[in-house]
C-alpha cells in the first residue's frame, strides 16, 4: 500500500531537456491543428459550426459521465471502471420501460383527456427518473458488495475489482434472459425534431432536405445541453452549499477526522456513488435517444472517453470534468469531420497519453499531496 501512496504520478518529474522537447513538439502540433481548423473554418463556416454542434452534443454527454468518475475518485481514490456500464444499464432500463411497459404514456391511461405533449413530457421524465433510480440502486449495491470490503486493501485490488465488475455487467447483460447480446434499435419516448439554421431557423419536415450550407440541430441536442448544464450547477450547489456536500469534501480530504466530526463515512461514500450513478443513468437515456442503437457494450467507449475527459480536466475536479468533456467532444467531432470517422477513438486515447506525459494532473488538478 505504501508503494502506491508514496509514488503518485505527479512525483514523476521528467528531466528538463525532455520536457522542453515535449513542449516544443506539442506547440508545433497545436499550431498545425489550429492552421488546419482555421483553413476549414474559412472554407466552410457552416460545416465547421455543424461539427462544433455535434461535438457539443458528445461533450455534454461525456460531462455527465465524467462527473461520476471524478467524484468517486475524489472520495475513495478509485477509478470506477464499472461506471460506463452503469450508463449502459440506464439506457436499457429506459428501453424496456418504453417498449415493454409503455411507461412514457402512462399518464394517458390514467387521464385520457390530457394533451399529448403533456403526456409525453410527464412520461419521458418518468422514464428518465426510473433509469436514474435503477442506476443508483445498482451502483450502491456494487459499492457495498465489491468495493467496500476492499477499502483498506491496496488500491490496485479495488481497481482490478472495478474492471471485473465492468466485465460482469457487460457479459451478464448480454445473456439472452437479461438484455440481449445484439444491437437493439432504441425506441425513443418522444419524437426527435430537427431544425436548420440558414438565414433564420426552420423546422426540418420528414422527407425533405435542408438547403446546402445550413446548420442542423435537434431537440435532443438542446435537451442534452440543458440537462448537462443543469446537472453541473446542481452538483456545484450540492458540494458548496449543503451540509452533505461539505461533508463529502471533508471525507475526501481526511476520512478518520471526518469520522471524529460524526460523519458516517460509509454513507457519504454511498451517497457519492449514488449521485454519480444518477447522472450516468440520465446520460445513458439521453445518449440512447441521440444515438438510437443500444448494446450491452455501448458503455465501454463513452465510459473510457469520459474517464479521459476527467483525467484531462484534472481528476477530482468538478469543473475539470466539464471542461475536459467539452474538449473531448470537440476533438472527436472535428476528427470525424475533417480526418475520418474511425480515427475518433484513436484521437481520444492519444489525448490521454499526451496528458499523462505532459501534465498528469490535468487542467484543474492539483498535485497530490501526502497528508501529514
Amino acid at each position: 500500500m505504501q508503494y502506491f501512496k508514496k509514488t503518485p504520478v505527479t512525483d514523476h518529474k521528467p528531466n528538463s531537456r525532455l520536457a522542453w522537447v515535449g513542449q516544443g513538439f506539442l506547440l508545433i502540433l497545436a499550431i498545425i491543428v489550429i492552421i488546419i481548423l482555421a483553413q476549414n473554418l474559412i472554407r466552410s463556416p457552416s460545416l465547421f459550426a455543424q461539427n462544433v454542434i455535434d461535438g457539443l452534443k458528445l461533450g455534454f454527454v461525456y460531462a455527465m459521465i465524467a462527473l461520476g468518475y471524478t467524484m468517486v475518485y475524489g472520495i475513495v481514490k478509485l477509478i470506477n471502471f464499472a461506471h460506463g456500464d452503469v450508463f449502459m444499464v440506464g439506457a436499457f432500463v429506459s428501453y424496456y420501460a418504453v417498449t415493454r411497459f409503455s411507461l412514457h404514456t402512462w399518464a394517458k391511461q390514467i387521464f385520457p383527456g390530457m394533451p399529448d405533449w403533456l403526456v409525453i413530457l410527464i412520461g419521458s421524465l418518468t422514464v428518465i427518473l426510473l433509469s436514474m433510480v435503477v442506476c443508483v440502486l445498482l451502483a450502491v449495491t456494487i459499492e457495498r458488495v465489491a468495493y467496500k470490503p476492499l477499502r483498506d486493501a491496496p488500491r490496485i485490488a479495488a481497481l482490478i475489482t472495478a474492471i471485473g465488475v465492468s466485465f460482469f455487467l457487460e457479459f451478464f447483460g448480454a445473456l439472452g434472459f437479461v438484455f440481449s447480446p445484439r444491437f437493439i434499435p432504441y425506441k425513443q419516448p418522444f419524437e426527435t425534431m430537427s431544425w436548420y439554421i440558414n438565414n433564420g431557423i426552420y423546422p426540418i419536415t420528414p422527407g425533405s432536405m435542408p438547403p446546402d450550407g445550413s446548420i442542423t440541430f435537434s431537440n435532443i441536442f438542446l435537451i442534452i445541453v440543458i440537462a448537462s448544464i443543469f446537472v453541473q450547477l446542481l452538483l456545484q450547489f450540492l458540494v458548496r452549499r449543503t451540509k452533505i456536500g461539505i461533508a463529502m469534501r471533508a471525507t475526501a480530504f481526511d476520512k478518520p477526522t471526518a469520522r471524529l466530526m460524526g460523519i458516517n463515512v460509509d454513507q457519504v461514500i454511498s451517497f457519492t456513488f449514488a449521485i454519480g450513478a444518477a447522472f450516468a443513468g440520465l446520460g445513458g437515456v439521453l445518449y440512447a435517444i441521440a444515438y438510437p442503437s443500444i448494446h450491452t457494450q455501448m458503455g465501454i467507449l463513452p465510459g473510457l472517453k469520459a474517464f479521459v475527459a476527467a483525467v484531462l480536466g484534472g481528476i477530482g475536479s468538478l469543473p475539470g470534468a466539464l471542461v475536459g468533456a467539452l474538449i473531448m467532444g470537440q476533438a472527436e467531432a472535428l476528427t470525424m469531420g475533417y480526418i475520418s470517422t474511425p480515427m475518433r477513438d484513436a484521437i481520444a486515447f492519444t489525448i490521454l497519453i499526451v496528458v499523462l506525459l505532459v501534465k498528469p494532473t490535468g487542467i484543474f488538478g492539483e498535485p497530490e499531496k501526502e497528508k501529514a
Binding site: 461533508a247 469534501r249 478518520p256 477526522t257 471524529l260 460523519i263
Partner: protein
C-alpha cells in the same frame, strides 16, 4: 463515573501499543496524560474516540459502553476529539470546518450561536472566516481545531498536543483558553509533551511509559515526583 477506561490493550499489527491501561476522568475535571514520544498517549485518545479498537477491557462514558461503538456515534454521546497535528480540513473554509464540527447537530440557530461563542474565544477565526483552512498559520489552525472540537457541544473534550509547534506566547494563550473551556463546564482529557504546562492546569495526572501507566495522582504531587521532574520537566 464520567469517563472510565479499564484495562485496554491496543495493537498496531504485532506491536502491543497499550498494555492494560486503566484510568478515569470525573465530570468537570482537567486530567492530563503525560509521557514521552511513542508512549501511547495519542493511541489512548484514539481508542476512546473510536478510531482504534481495544482487544480487551472497556471504555465507558456516562454509563454507556463505547468500547466497540463507531467513532461517528461516540461524538453524538458528547466526546469530542481534537486530534494530534490539528487535522484541519485544508480545502474547506474556516466556516465550513466549524460547520463540520457541528455535523451532529441540526438546529441552525443553535449552531450559529455556538459559532459566535467560538469567535468570542478565538477572535482571529472571525477575521479568517472565509479563508481556506490550509492557508492558516499553525497557531490559527490549532485555534480552529479546538473551536471545531467545541462545535459539537461536548461534555468531554480530548485534546492531543495542543501546544505542539506553537510559540511560547501562543502556548500560554491556548492553555488559558483550555482553562476557560473547562470553567464553562466541559471536562478535559489533555495529552501533552509540555508536561510542565499540562501539570500546572490539571487537577490530576497520569504518567504513561511504553503503553503502561506508571504513576498517577494529584497533578501537584506528580509534578513534585523526583522521577517525573527528572524525565519530563527537565529540572
Amino acid at each position: 463515573m464520567f469517563l472510565e477506561v479499564e484495562n485496554i490493550n491496543v495493537y498496531y499489527g504485532a506491536i502491543h501499543a497499550l498494555q492494560g491501561i486503566s484510568f478515569h476522568v470525573n465530570e468537570g475535571e482537567i486530567v492530563t496524560l503525560i509521557g514521552a514520544n511513542g508512549a501511547g498517549k495519542s493511541t489512548t485518545l484514539r481508542t476512546i474516540s473510536g478510531l482504534l479498537r481495544s482487544r480487551t477491557g472497556s471504555v465507558k462514558f456516562k454509563g454507556h459502553d463505547i468500547t466497540y461503538m463507531p467513532a461517528e456515534q461516540i461524538v453524538r454521546l458528547g466526546i469530542s476529539h481534537v486530534p494530534e497535528g490539528r487535522k484541519i480540513f485544508a480545502p474547506l473554509t474556516v466556516r465550513e470546518n466549524l460547520l463540520m464540527g457541528a455535523f451532529t447537530r441540526t438546529d441552525p440557530a443553535e449552531i450559529e450561536a455556538s459559532m459566535q461563542r467560538v469567535f468570542t474565544s478565538f477572535p482571529r477565526m472571525r477575521e479568517r472566516i472565509n479563508q481556506l483552512g490550509g492557508t492558516l498559520s499553525g497557531g490559527e489552525q490549532q485555534m480552529l481545531a479546538t473551536g471545531r472540537g467545541l462545535m459539537s457541544r461536548p461534555g468531554l473534550i480530548l485534546l492531543d498536543e495542543p501546544s505542539m509547534g506553537l510559540s511560547p506566547i501562543l502556548v500560554e494563550e491556548i492553555f488559558r483558553i483550555i482553562q476557560e473551556i473547562n470553567s464553562q463546564g466541559t471536562s478535559i482529557l489533555l495529552v501533552e509533551q509540555n508536561a510542565l504546562m499540562a501539570l500546572s492546569i490539571a487537577s490530576r495526572a497520569y504518567v504513561i511509559e511504553t503503553g503502561r501507566i506508571v504513576l498517577e495522582g494529584d497533578a501537584r504531587e506528580v509534578a513534585e515526583n523526583p522521577q517525573v521532574k527528572n524525565a519530563y520537566l527537565g529540572v
